[in-house]
């Protein structure tokens, strides 16, 4: 049978020496992906499901960079597992979604910036994010209570009577910008390391230049439509069995667009504040409240649905070790929306300060865990998809040699 070297001993990270460099040897999880890809490349039945397999066929060997690239292309839809003639109990024990998931979380750690923070990925579980959100909320509540305003006379939704606007803006900007920076550095490292960029041949340069625009458009569309949660035939991905369903794609779209709408609401409010000097609270029918409410609805339905699916999913899909990270992130998004709505409803009452503290604590928890939690999947997967849409427009060096 294909090589299944016992490498449990190699599954340890090398000490960080400051400069960014991936270990040359494959970890056990990476070897597993490499081994499976060699089997898949000799079979190719799953080529129609997603981008992973067409990308695979352009390679004959799977080194670390290839494995990282393919792992992040994988959407864990499960189609290739249920269709696999080599899946357990077959002795080849091919389970691509699970092997990819194990490597994927490892790539987030490997490419994390600062590197030492990568280990937080292993901690970003459900309880940690809940404790973090709760702790931050409690801290804010206490801060408010210390100055005697936690339960107060109604303030007509004037948040800044509780927390000065500039205080909020500075604190959240710092945390948010750090998250952007950390993820940006991480994904740049990923982009540079992952083939084919590493080994671009001179003659490919014009092709890459020509591919850039259409490739970007396609990658944006793939992300926007969550194309690869469609199963290749558009009937969706697998959940608890070999049946296809579009539920995950739909719930994920609720979540994605909910998040983007909430982000847009915040951005519009920031513009209002600084550009037009219109200060919160904004009326119910103002743009920030409408965007935020629509987004909030998405962030209630989407994460609730995703969590429901996550719990019911066939345990063979994905990596059980990551349930904490997945569910923690899902729960935070849900809580942000729930506390946001509570704040909207209660902003004219004496409980505004209390709910403001809870909501801000939850949002802060999301921002703090963003660069080292499940949020990273969107960034790394988008990069992998762009890599793929560029790569597929380049001549296939294998095919051009006469296949």
């Amino acid at each position: 049978m294909p090589p299944r070297t016992d490498t449990a001993a190699m599954d340890t990270q090398p000490a960080c020496d400051g400069a960014f460099e991936l270990a040359a040897t494959l970890t056990a999880s990476e070897q597993d992906v490499s081994r499976m890809m060699q089997i898949c490349n000799a079979c190719r039945y799953c080529e129609g499901f997603c981008a992973v397999f067409p990308a695979m066929t352009r390679r004959l060997e799977f080194d670390k960079a290839d494995v990282h690239y393919l792992a992040n292309l994988c959407h864990n839809c499960g189609a290739c597992l249920h269709a696999c003639q080599y899946a357990p109990p077959h002795e080849f024990a091919v389970n691509v979604p699970q092997a990819m998931a194990k490597v994927r979380v490892q790539t987030y750690q490997d490419y994390a910036w600062p590197r030492a923070m990568g280990r937080l990925y292993r901690r970003a579980g459900l309880s940690v994010v809940l404790v973090l959100a709760g702790g931050l909320s409690l801290f804010l509540m206490l801060a408010v209570a210390m100055s005697g305003r936690l339960i107060h006379a109604p303030l007509a939704g004037n948040f800044y009577a509780i927390f000065p606007h500039n205080f909020l803006a500075v604190v959240f900007s710092i945390v948010f910008l750090f998250a952007i920076l950390a993820l940006g550095v991480g994904v740049t490292r990923f982009w540079r390391e992952v083939s084919p960029a590493r080994e671009v041949e001179i003659e490919d340069q014009p092709a890459i230049a020509a591919a850039r625009l259409p490739a970007t458009a396609e990658a944006v569309s793939d992300v926007a439509t969550l194309r690869y949660l469609g199963g290749g035939h558009g009937e969706g991905c697998n959940e608890e069995d070999d049946r296809f369903t579009l539920l995950r794609r739909r719930f994920h779209q609720f979540t994605l667009y909910g998040f983007l709408l909430c982000f847009a609401a915040t951005s519009v409010a920031t513009l209002y504040h600084y550009l037009f000097r219109w200060e919160a609270p904004y009326p119910w029918l103002s743009l920030p409240v409408i965007l935020g409410s629509l987004g909030g609805v998405g962030l209630l339905f989407g994460p609730a649905g995703l969590l429901w699916l996550n719990v019911r999913r066939d345990p063979q899909h994905g990596d059980r070790g990551q349930h904490g990270m997945d569910r923690g992130f899902i729960a935070l998004l849900f809580l942000i929306s729930a506390t946001g709505f509570a704040l909207l409803v209660l902003r004219d009452t004496q409980f505004m300060a209390l709910w403001l503290a809870i909501h801000l604590g939850t949002v802060m928890a999301l921002f703090l865990t963003m660069p080292y939690g499940k949020f990273a999947h969107g960034v790394f997967r988008s990069a992998a998809l762009l890599k793929y849409t560029i790569e597929k427009r380049l001549p296939n060096r294998l095919a051009s040699r006469g296949e």
Binding site: P2, A42, C43, Y45, E47, A79, A83, G232, H233, E403
Partner: protein, 508 residues
């Protein structure tokens, strides 16, 4: 596309049919005798079960394998060979009936029934909408398989995805499925099916029965007996690998032969491919194929070449190499290539043995270097040059060499060199039950009124020997559907719409 439910199914109480889903024990007590019993769990069995159910019959399927291994060899298939007169969704250009027939005639060397073959061929041109209705997805050919873009429609995700789709559809329609239920024997009186007796001794009666439980390829003892002992005193079949399921033990095939059913085919004829010798004994499937034969040379244990590696395009030749290797001493051989071939063939699942000189390579694979080097020198010297083109029957051939290599003959001189060990890999056997266009099992030339056969159990009627990609599925789908319709008919149920499709298929 709208899924249709024949009226008979709509009228049936769903309670009767759902009460014992997944629980075979409850079957007899709660539902009584099924109209149609289908023995087997692969493509042909599923096609039969779905058609019989669509006709309104109650259907019980008995699959010998556990659920994880259900589907027999169908979980390893990847496409369906289809006749078409013009481009059809995933199929380009045209593949007319006559061309399909000529291809089949060529590979079987005439060991086929023209009437049944044409029935299969014409059926293949119209069956895919039905397959789609039951959840099968088609896709354009896989990379590395573009040569069959015209002739073969690929299943998205391969055969296991198809099998899963059919099982889902069967479950939705109320077909009862029992896994891990191998059948030991049948009760047949005057050519009429009465009951099936399972391994555990349970007696299951039905109004009619479809046998679709495969050849005997997984039964190593039977293979050994069939192939016998050769002039070297070897039992060749001892060195065979089975590419598919371990569950095709041929129990009912043997039973039917002993019960006097008319048979067809030679027990040593099979879909037999040269595969990597390191493949597992069972279920190695597609990925153990070695596709570099036509790019290099193949030598046996004595270091000798034994056949023209470049006779024709590999997809047209891979199915003869299993037998060729089976005839070599030790039933083994090695495919030898050099650097020039790397990347030009489907990547093999196992790494080749690699060496920087041919002498080293011979030593590493355990061959006597002297005769091996003689063979290689003679071959290299005989390559007369030309313009290499693996996509055409090019002019690179050997001169004055026996056996010749008639295409793609380039000297093997660019290190590193690679060797892949070969063994015969049996996909499925062709010995089966003789039948006609009704799929009925025959006894002494007379058709049974209520016992039918489909799939590998009767593929030998069409395939006496040889193979062409995807035709096993064409046969299994055609006769599976026909068997299902006729089994339902003999139980008193008429399929609402197959008549016209069958009339077209049979009109030749």
């Amino acid at each position: 596309m709208k899924f249709y439910f024949p009226q008979a199914i709509k009228n049936m109480s769903s309670k009767t049919w759902r009460c014992c889903a997944g629980n075979g024990r409850g079957w007899m007590a709660s539902s009584g005798e099924p109209d149609v019993l289908v023995i087997g769990g692969g493509n042909a069995a599923l096609c039969a079960a779905l058609m019989a159910r669509e006709a309104g019959a109650s259907v019980l399927m008995l699959e010998s394998a556990p659920r994880a291994w259900r589907g027999g060899n169908s979980m390893h298939v990847r496409n369906l060979r289809c006749m078409h007169d013009e481009p059809q969704d995933v199929l380009v250009e045209a593949y007319p009936e006559q061309e399909f027939w000529q291809d089949l005639l060529k590979v079987t060397g005439g060991l086929t029934s023209e009437s049944l073959a044409r029935l299969v061929i014409r059926h293949s041109s119209r069956c895919r909408p039905w397959m789609r209705r039951h959840g099968v997805h088609f896709q354009p050919p896989l990379s590395g398989a573009l040569h069959v873009a015209r002739t073969n429609a690929f299943f998205m995700g391969g055969g296991k995805a198809l099998v899963n789709a059919y099982y889902r559809s069967a479950q939705n329609l109320g077909v009862q499925v029992r896994y891990e239920t191998p059948v030991r024997s049948l009760e047949i009186v005057d050519g009429r099916f009465g009951a099936a007796i399972t391994e555990t001794g349970e007696r299951i009666t039905a109004k009619s029965c479809v046998l679709a439980c495969g050849g005997f390829e997984s039964n190593l003892g039977w293979q050994r007996e069939a192939w016998g002992q050769n002039e070297r005193g070897e039992w060749p079949a001892e060195n065979f690998l089975i590419r598919g399921t371990r569950y095709n033990q041929g129990v009912l095939l043997r039973f039917m032969i002993d019960a006097g059913a008319d048979t067809i085919g030679d027990p040593t004829q099979a879909h037999c491919v040269a595969i990597d010798a390191r493949a597992p004994l069972y279920d190695g499937g597609i990925c153990t194929r070695i596709d570099c034969v036509s790019l290099g040379v193949v030598v046996n244990r004595d270091g000798q070449r034994f056949y023209d590696e470049g006779e024709d395009f590999w997809p047209k030749r891979y199915a003869i190499w299993g037998r060729l290797v089976a005839q070599q001493p030790g039933q083994t051989a090695w495919s030898i290539i050099d650097r020039k071939a790397v990347g030009r063939f489907m990547p093999p699942v196992f790494e080749g043995t690699r060496a920087d000189t041919l002498e080293d390579l011979a030593q590493k694979i355990g061959l006597d270097p002297a005769p091996f080097m003689d063979t290689m020198h003679a071959y290299n010297a005989a390559c007369r040059g030309g313009t290499f083109d693996h996509t055409t029957l090019d002019d690179c051939r050997t001169d004055g060499l026996s056996p010749a290599k008639t295409h793609w003959a380039l000297p093997i001189n660019a290190p590193p060199f690679y060797a892949y060990p070969l063994r015969p890999g049996i996909t499925f056997t062709y010995l089966g039950m003789r039948t006609d266009h009704t799929a009925a099992v025959h006894f002494g030339g007379a058709p049974s009124a209520n016992l039918f056969a489909a799939g590998e159990m009767m593929a030998g009627n069409v395939l006496g020997k040889g193979y062409t990609a995807g035709v096993g599925m064409s046969i299994g789908t055609a006769f599976g559907r026909i068997a299902g319709v006729n089994a339902a008919q003999s139980a008193g149920f008429t399929h609402p719409e197959f008549k016209e499709e069958f009339a077209y298929a049979a009109a030749h």
